[in-house]
C-alpha cells in the first residue's frame, strides 16, 4: 500500500475535427495518504471524472504525472479498482462469477476463490445471492456486487465514479453507510466522485471542491463527518449544526461558480 500522488496534472482535449482545444484540468497537485477517504465535488464540466479516469489509467495526462507509491501510472491495472455509476456488471454472468472475475482473469480457479467470494458477498450484504443472474438484481444490489467485485481484487486504491448517483434516497443512505463501513474494515484509499454535497461531506475525510474552466481544485476541506459516520446514524450527522454550516458554505460556492459559468457563457 502506498500514497497516491498527483503532480502538475494537466489535461487538454483536442477536438479531432475543428482542432479546438479545451483545457479540462490544469495544475492539479495533491497527495493522498494510504487509507485516506477523498471525495471530489464540483459543478458539471469541472473535470472530476477526467481526474478519476486519469488515476485509473484510462486516459493519459497531457502533462504531469500520477504516482502510486513510487510507481508511475501508465495504464489501467488491478491495483486501482473502479466502481461505476451503474454497476457495469457483466449481465451474462452470475453474481459469484462477476465477483471473482478479476481472480479468474488472474488465473485462479473458480472453486478456489469460491470461499473468498462468499466472504465478500457477506460483507456487502448479499449472502445467498451467489448464483443469481445479475440482471435480476435491483440497482442497489447491483452496486453492492460491483463493490464486492472491486474489493475481492485487493486493490490499493478504490475509485468510485458517482457510485450512488442512480440509486433512490433510502438505498443511497444505506450504501453510504456500507461504503464507510468497508473503508474502515479494509483501510483502503478511496476516491469518490459525487455531485451530491451531502454525500461528499458524509463520505469525505478530505473533500476537494473543484472549479471549472479550467478544471482545478478550488478549495480543500478536512472533515470529521466520515469518522462520525462510522459509529452514528448518518441522518443524525446531517442534523448537526457543523454539518449544515459546511454544506451551506459549499452550496454557495458551487452556486456562485454556476452563476459565473452562465454569466460568462
Amino acid at each position: 500500500m502506498a500514497d497516491l500522488t498527483c503532480k502538475d496534472l494537466c489535461m487538454t482535449f483536442t477536438n479531432q475535427q475543428s482542432g479546438a482545444k479545451v483545457e479540462a484540468l490544469s495544475d492539479i497537485n495533491f497527495t493522498l495518504k494510504k487509507g485516506e477517504l477523498l471525495s471530489v465535488l464540483g459543478p458539471s464540466g469541472c473535470g472530476k471524472t477526467t481526474l478519476l479516469n486519469m488515476i485509473a489509467g484510462f486516459i493519459t495526462p497531457t502533462n504531469g504525472s500520477i504516482l502510486l507509491g513510487d510507481r508511475l501510472i501508465e495504464g489501467p491495472g488491478a491495483d486501482r479498482g473502479m466502481v461505476f455509476q451503474q454497476g457495469a456488471l457483466f449481465e451474462w454472468l452470475t453474481v459469484a462469477k462477476n465477483v471473482d472475475f478479476g481472480l479468474r482473469m488472474g488465473g485462479a480457479s473458480e472453486a478456489k476463490s469460491r470461499e473468498r467470494v462468499e466472504k465478500w458477498l457477506a460483507t456487502v450484504g448479499l449472502q445467498g445471492f451467489a448464483d443469481t443472474p445479475t440482471y435480476q438484481l435491483s440497482g442497489g444490489m447491483q452496486q453492492r456486487v460491483a463493490l464486492a467485485r472491486c474489493l475481492i481484487n485487493d486493490p490499493e486504491v478504490i475509485l468510485m465514479d458517482e457510485p450512488l448517483g442512480a440509486l433512490d434516497a433510502l438505498t443511497r443512505e444505506k450504501m453510504q453507510s456500507l461504503v464507510l463501513e468497508l473503508w474502515k474494515k479494509t483501510g483502503k484509499t478511496i476516491v469518490i466522485i459525487t455531485h451530491s454535497v451531502e454525500e461528499a461531506l458524509l463520505l469525505g475525510e478530505r473533500l476537494f471542491v473543484m472549479a471549472p474552466r479550467p478544471g482545478r481544485i478550488h478549495k480543500e476541506y478536512q472533515l470529521p463527518f466520515a469518522e462520525w459516520g462510522l459509529g452514528r446514524s448518518l441522518r443524525d450527522i446531517k442534523l448537526e449544526k457543523e454539518f449544515s454550516a459546511v454544506r451551506e458554505e459549499i452550496l454557495t460556492m458551487i452556486w456562485n461558480m454556476e452563476e459565473e459559468i452562465m454569466g460568462g457563457a
Partner: protein, 642 residues
C-alpha cells in the same frame, strides 16, 4: 387404413371442416373474452397487449385452412355430387351454343359481324394510304385500287339487309325457332327418367380424372344433356349459313380473279428485287383482308336481332331452370363456372392450381414413403430417411489426397511378374480416397436432409469464420476499414445474382450451393458480430481493465458474450435467408433437395407436389425460427437487460 381414408374422403373432410369451424368460433369467443378481461389494465399501445394470444393464432390457422378447403373445391363435389353433375350438363349446353354466342353480342360488347366490319374497313383504309406506287405499273395501280374498293363494297353489301337472300333469311329463322324450342323445353319440368347403368357406374369424387362424371345421373341433368345435343345441331346449322347474295357472289369472283392476276402480273420493274418484294408483300396484305370476308360471315345487325334475342332468352331460361343449382354454384363452387371441354368437366378458377388439402396430404405421404421400390420418395431419393454411411467416405472428405503425396517414400511400383504390391503409401492413398472399408454409421438421407445438410454446413462455416472476423472488425480500426469495403460490396448483391457464377465455378454439386449459402451466412454473421462487438458499454470494458483482464481476455470474456445476443439474432436471420436462397439455388441446378422437387413438379404442372414442397419449406423455416427463438430465450436470458 389408407384405402378406407381414400374411400371416405368426403366424410373425413366433413369432420375436419366441422372441427375447423368449431375451432374458429371457439377461438373468437375465447379471444373476445380474454380481450374484455384485459382491456381495463392495458391501454392502447401497451406492449403487453401483443404478448401471448395463442387463441388468435388458432383462429388465423383455422381461417386459413377453411379458406383452403373452401377454394380447393373438394367440398362442393364431396357433398353435392349431383349438383356438380348437373352443372356439368349445363356446361355441355353452354359449350353447344358457344359458336352462336361467340358470333353474337352476348358475352362480348360487339357482335362478330360488327368487329369484322370495323376492323377490316380500318385496315383497308390504312393499306390504301401506303400503296407503293413505284412497285406497280400505272395500269396495275388502278387495278389494285379497284380491288380495294370492291372489298369495301363487299363489306358494306353484306352489312345491308337489302342484300340478304331469302334462303339465308329462312335458315336464320330456322335456327331461331330451334332455340325457341329449347327455351320452351327448359321451362317445362323434367319427365320421369332413369339413369343408365353406365352413368351410375361412373367413378365418384376424387378417385379418378376427370373428377366430375360426364354422363347425367339425374332427371334434370338428363334434360340439359338432351337439349345440349339439340343445341349442338342448331349451332352446326348456324355455322353453315352464308350471307352471300348473287351480286355479292359475282363481286367476289371478279375480285378474286383480279387479285390472282395482280399477284402474277409482271411489272416493268421486276428486275429490282426490292420493288418486287414490296409488291408481293402489299398484295398479300390485300388478299388477307379479302379472304377474311369472302366466306360471307358478316350479317346485318337487324337480321341477327331475332337470333340475338332468342339465344339470350334461352340462356336466361337456362339460368331459371338451374333453380337451386345457382345457389350451390355460387356458394360451393367459389372457383367459378364448371366448364365442359371436349372430354371432361372441370371447374375453372383456383381449383386448377389449388389442390385439395386431402390430396396434398396424400401426396406428402407418398413422397415420405421411404420404400423406393414401391413408388416412395422422389426421383430415386427418399424425402427424409436414413442410410448406412461408410466411415471411409467421411475420412476421404477429411483427408485431402494431396496430403498423402507429402508422406515420405514413393508409391508402389509394378513388379517383374506384372503384379502390384501396394506399399503403405498406396494404402494411405486409398484411405484418403475412401476405398478402405471401415464400417458404416447410420446417417440421415433424403431430399430434406440434403437441403438441411447444405444449410447446416454453410451456417457452420459462416459462423466459425464470420463471428471472429466480425468481432475483430468491432475492435480493430484496421480490420474494420480493411474488410468493410470487401464485405459491403458483395453483401448487397442478391445471392441469386451470384448463383450462376458460383455454380459455374464450383459445379452443380453440393460445394457450389454450400459456397453460395456460405457467402450469405458469412456476410450476415460478420455484420451482426461487428454490431455486437461495437455495442459493448465503455464502462464494462473499463471495469474489466481495472479488474486486471488482458486484451485477449476482454475479447473472450467480455466482448464476445456481450455480442452474443446480436450474434444469435444474426444466426436467426441468416438461417432464414440461407433457407430461402437454397431453395432457389436448388431450382437452378442439382438432383436432390426440396427446391429440386419443386422445380421438377413445376415443369410437369404437378400442383399437389408444388404445394407439398411449399409447405415443407414453410414448416421447416418455421421450425428453424422457433428453435432459434427458444435457444435465444434459453441461452441468453440477459438479452436486452444489460
Amino acid at each position: 387404413m389408407l384405402d378406407w381414408l381414400s374411400d371416405n374422403r368426403a366424410i373425413v373432410a366433413a369432420i375436419i371442416i366441422l372441427l375447423l369451424v368449431g375451432a374458429f368460433l371457439w377461438s373468437i369467443a375465447y379471444g373476445i373474452r380474454q380481450t374484455r378481461l384485459r382491456e381495463k389494465d392495458q391501454v392502447f399501445g401497451d406492449p403487453e397487449r401483443t404478448v401471448g394470444g395463442w387463441f388468435w393464432a388458432i383462429c388465423g390457422v383455422s381461417v386459413l385452412l377453411l379458406a383452403w378447403f373452401y377454394f380447393s373445391w373438394g367440398v362442393a363435389r364431396a357433398f353435392f355430387p349431383q349438383a356438380a353433375n348437373e352443372l356439368c350438363q349445363v356446361g355441355k349446353l353452354h359449350e353447344a351454343v358457344s359458336p352462336v354466342t361467340s358470333s353474337l353480342a352476348i358475352k362480348s360488347r360487339y357482335s362478330k359481324s360488327k368487329t369484322l366490319l370495323v376492323r377490316n374497313s380500318k385496315q383497308l383504309e390504312s393499306l390504301r394510304a401506303r400503296l407503293p406506287v413505284e412497285a406497280f405499273t400505272v395500269s396495275d395501280v388502278s387495278r389494285v385500287k379497284i380491288v380495294m374498293s370492291n372489298t369495301q363494297r363487299l363489306i358494306n353489301m353484306m352489312a345491308t339487309p337489302d342484300f340478304v337472300g331469302a334462303e339465308t333469311m329462312r335458315e336464320i329463322e330456322e335456327v331461331n325457332v330451334g332455340f325457341a324450342g329449347i327455351t320452351n323445353a327448359l321451362a317445362t319440368a323434367p319427365e320421369q327418367w332413369m339413369a343408365s347403368e353406365k352413368a351410375l357406374a361412373q367413378p365418384s369424387w376424387g378417385t379418378s380424372e376427370p373428377e366430375i362424371p360426364l354422363l347425367p345421373i339425374s332427371a334434370r341433368g338428363a334434360k340439359f344433356d338432351t337439349l345440349a345435343t339439340e343445341a349442338a345441331i342448331l349451332s352446326k346449322k348456324f355455322l353453315r349459313i352464308r350471307n352471300l347474295s348473287p351480286p355479292a357472289k359475282s363481286l367476289i369472283d371478279e375480285t378474286k380473279m383480279m387479285i390472282a392476276a395482280l399477284k402474277k402480273s409482271p411489272s416493268a420493274n421486276d428486275k429490282d428485287l426490292k420493288l418486287v418484294k414490296a409488291r408481293t408483300t402489299y398484295m398479300k396484305a390485300v388478299d388477307r383482308i379479302f379472304k377474311r370476308i369472302d366466306d360471307g360471315k358478316i350479317f346485318p345487325a337487324s337480321v341477327m336481332a331475332g337470333m340475338q334475342s332468342s339465344v339470350q332468352t334461352m340462356l336466361y331460361q337456362l339460368e331459371e331452370a338451374k333453380g337451386g343449382l345457382s345457389y350451390v354454384e355460387t356458394l360451393f363452387f367459389p372457383g367459378g363456372d364448371i366448364i365442359k371441354s371436349r372430354t371432361q368437366c372441370t371447374e375453372q378458377g383456383p381449383g386448377r392450381w389449388l389442390p385439395k388439402p386431402t390430396d396434398v396430404i396424400a401426396t406428402f405421404f407418398a413422397l415420405a414413403n421411404p420404400d423406393l421400390e414401391n413408388g416412395g420418395g422422389y426421383k430415386g431419393t427418399t424425402l427424409l430417411w436414413w442410410k448406412w454411411l461408410p466411415v471411409a467416405h467421411v475420412v476421404a472428405i477429411l483427408i485431402p489426397d494431396g496430403l498423402v503425396d507429402l508422406l515420405p517414400g514413393s508409391y508402389g511400383e509394378l513388379d517383374e511378374s506384372g503384379g502390384f504390391q501396394p506399399n503403405y503409401k498406396d494404402w494411405m492413398l486409398s484411405l484418403a480416397q475412401g476405398d478402405v472399408y471401415m464400417g458404416a454409421i447410420p446417417m440421415l438421407d433424403g431430399h430434406i436432409w440434403d437441403s438441411l445438410f447444405r444449410v447446416l454446413v454453410a451456417m457452420f462455416f459462416g459462423i466459425t469464420l464470420g463471428v471472429p472476423l466480425g468481432i475483430y472488425m468491432g475492435v480493430s480500426r484496421f480490420c474494420k476499414s480493411f474488410f468493410d469495403p470487401l464485405i459491403e460490396l458483395y453483401r448487397p448483391v442478391p445471392p441469386l445474382a451470384w448463383a450462376p457464377l458460383i455454380l459455374t465455378i464450383f459445379g452443380i454439386q453440393d460445394d457450389g450451393k454450400i459456397f453460395l449459402l456460405f457467402m450469405v451466412a458469412f456476410a450476415i454473421m460478420v455484420i451482426s458480430a461487428r454490431t455486437g462487438a461495437t455495442g459493448a458499454q465503455l464502462s464494462k470494458i473499463r471495469a474489466s481493465h481495472s479488474l486486471g483482464a488482458s486484451d485477449q481476455q476482454i475479447l473472450r470474456y467480455v466482448i464476445l458474450p456481450n455480442a452474443l445476443p446480436e450474434i444469435m439474432t444474426g444466426v436467426r436471420i441468416s438461417i432464414g435467408v440461407c433457407w430461402g436462397t437454397l431453395v432457389a439455388a436448388e431450382m437452378l441446378a442439382g438432383t436432390t433437395g426440396v427446391g429440386f422437387i419443386e422445380n421438377v413438379a413445376r415443369t410437369v404442372s404437378d400442383y399437389e407436389l408444388i404445394w407439398v414442397t411449399i409447405l415443407i419449406m414453410g414448416l421447416l423455416g418455421l421450425i428453424f425460427d422457433l428453435m432459434m427463438r427458444w435457444a435465444i430465450a434459453r441461452y441468453i436470458p440477459w438479452r436486452g437487460k444489460g
